[in-house]
């Protein structure tokens, strides 16, 4: 990541396209998780589900998209975006902390049909938040060392695509576990 060479347009297209393959594979994990939830637990959710906490996580993650896009736009314009990426990571970290808090105070029995799916899906998603945060922090660090420029920043794009995927997946998760 430190040796960013000048990429051709074709090179940029390649890295961007190839990264979507990775995201597609990740998406299949959540397809499996969500379909298992409906297969095993049917429709409906228990009253103990902490809906306001789920909503707070959703809002934090959606809000993190704004500094994310601001950061990548700044890098695209040849300026530093590390600060903005850091803000996005901070919002993501708050969301992760809320999920940990939720697990610590969980009222749904883990052994129940709904409960085991809830824990499995939120746990898997928390792992993806952690991965996404790692990616954001690595590119923010690299950007603060001035390793990217207007032409070469596909790593920032990759971290942003992955983070957007994490946010979109949470929105789906919120619907699957808190609304249905």
């Amino acid at each position: 990541m430190t040796t960013v060479q000048d990429l051709s347009d074709a090179g940029r297209r390649m890295y961007r396209g190839a990264f979507f393959l990775f995201v597609l594979a990740e998406a299949m994990i959540f397809v499996t998780l969500f379909s298992t939830r409906f297969l095993l637990a049917g429709m409906g959710h228990p009253a103990e589900v902490n809906g306001s906490l789920g909503l707070a996580v959703t809002l934090l993650l959606v809000a993190s998209l704004a500094p994310l896009f601001a950061g990548i736009n700044r890098i695209r314009a040849g300026r530093r975006g590390a600060g903005m990426l850091g803000v996005a990571a901070l919002l993501g970290a708050l969301a992760l902390a809320l999920i940990v808090y939720d697990w610590a105070t969980l009222a749904i029995p883990v052994g129940s049909r709904y409960g085991e799916n809830y824990v499995m899906s939120t746990g898997y998603h928390a792992l993806h938040i952690l991965l996404g945060l790692t990616g954001l922090l690595i590119v923010a660090g690299a950007d603060s060392r001035r390793e990217f420029n207007a032409a070469n920043h596909w790593q920032v794009g990759a971290a942003a695509v992955f983070w957007s995927f994490v946010v979109l997946t949470w929105i789906a998760l919120f619907a699957v576990f808190f609304i249905f």
Partner: protein, 611 residues
Amino acid sequence: MSEHSGMIGEAAGPGWLGHAAPMLRAALWGAIGFLAADWAVAAALGSRLGAEWPVVTGFFAGSTGWVLGGGALEACVRPWFGPAPAWDEGIGAGRFLRFHSDHKIIGIQYLVSATVTFLLAGLAAMLMRLELMTPKLDVFADAQQYNEAFGVHGSLMLFAVSVVAIVGGFGNYFVPVMVGADDMTYPRLNGLSWWFLVPGVLAILLSPLVGGFQTGWTGYAPLAAQDAVGQDLYYLGIFALGLSSLFTAINVIATTLYMRAPGLSMGRLPMFVWAMLVTSVLNLIWVPVIGTGMIFALADRILGTHFFDAQGLPLLWQDLFWLFGHPEVYIIMLPAWGLWLEIIPVFSRKRLFGYGWAVAGMLGVMFLSSYVWTHHMFTTVADSRLVPFMTTTELISIPTGFMYIAALGTLWKGRIRLRTPMLYVLMSVFNFLIGGFTGVFLSDVPADFQLHNTYFVVAHFHYTIIGGMVFAWLAGLYYWFPKYTGRLYSEGWGKLAAWLVFLGFNCSFLGMFVAGFDGMNRRVAEYMPYLGGINAWISVWSFVLGLAFGIAILNLLISAATGKRAGDNPWGGKTLEWQTSSPPPHGNFARPPVVTGDFYSYGPERGVTTP
């Protein structure tokens, strides 16, 4: 070796210890990681060292130590924090014993590990056949040990040999060369992929040390939930092998889509590359599904959930398993078809017949293969699922037929040279016909009710996997041998081994069809005495088969050391890998190749490719 350039300071080579240092470090870190985590968790929980949590955390820590110790720490992790990547990729033999980003080195790493795993899992099969020589239990101490043996045999052969040998070995080595690229899209991710393979193989291979697993390679619940700790290693091992396949799939698709040489349109792509592309799409989509299934099942055992056990839905495991498990059959077979259609034109000196139809057939198999999984579960699912999946399964034989039409149409009136690779391909075409036809029997619900869980099924899938894929893999090993070693193999020994493999294989596995019809159940260590004759016949021929595989591989090993120089293009092939030196240099081509015609215009001179 010849890569001594002036840039390398040492006049003398690094010596064997220097060559092997990174792999020794990886093994040391892996062992320390496993033992430390195992001991720490066991002490914290007050449990045995071989209990579930200590072994599971030990596996994670050990694998991490192994991957980082091999060089991933310096090559992949260190650059995240600022410093430039600092990893010496070694010279000579040392390149194969460390983290390396050259796709050709990785391909050889995959080929060697797949061969070693093949021989080890084959040894388990030999033990099983020795047990089945007589109706009574006499080799293993009890039936559970026999179960562990076929579990290890099946899991390794399916997840670490047949989906890895061609895809990881030839796919890594030849896809970039055949599309005229200098390397894969993500070379370091590619380097990582092999390092995940080894912990996966070791987990399954060593699972008998903590009680093994009784479920066989399919890991069916609810038996799996009650099994010994070895079952956890089955889940973890297959998860690690899945990661390895996934990384390769991402690279193969990206390389094929984005790194083709000028002039190489998709419509000119060599058949092997098409096969690898289609296979990788299947891997990309379905490996995450079974990986998640493995995590569900692991949670059932260590976290107290009830996804698949008797309180949950055991059938859901079967669905998740076969959602990958059936596409996997085509992940195994599509690369083999690619090899058929690559090798047959070269040794028939004739244009590939029906290129477009063969590609359409591969795509058709790719789409249909995701809609047939329930045919493994005809005896367990609701009646409403029987006819739809019988129909899709029988439909898939149509695109498969396109591959046969292309192969036979190319052979027709060709000038056939019966060299060892061609011999293996023709044998594979013959064997797979039997495997495929018996598959149509089994897709038929009434026949399947009768034959399910008998040796008929065992014979059928060994005909597709050994008869189809392993024969094609051997064909590829011999076909590309001059390219990846630079030497010629011994033709006489090669042909002798080919005929012995063919004889041993067909005599033993045709016998299994008979045993199956006669009522021989699969996965049993003891059987009714009236089946003794046919089982003794199968066992004797399977020992011949094991010996023949040994000769075939030994011939390659000896020839790699002592064979004559092969030159760049001993077969007169037109695909790009034959237009560069043997073995290709780092970066593959002296000048970037430009493709000006299609690759299969043998016979009358038409389009040509210029390097």
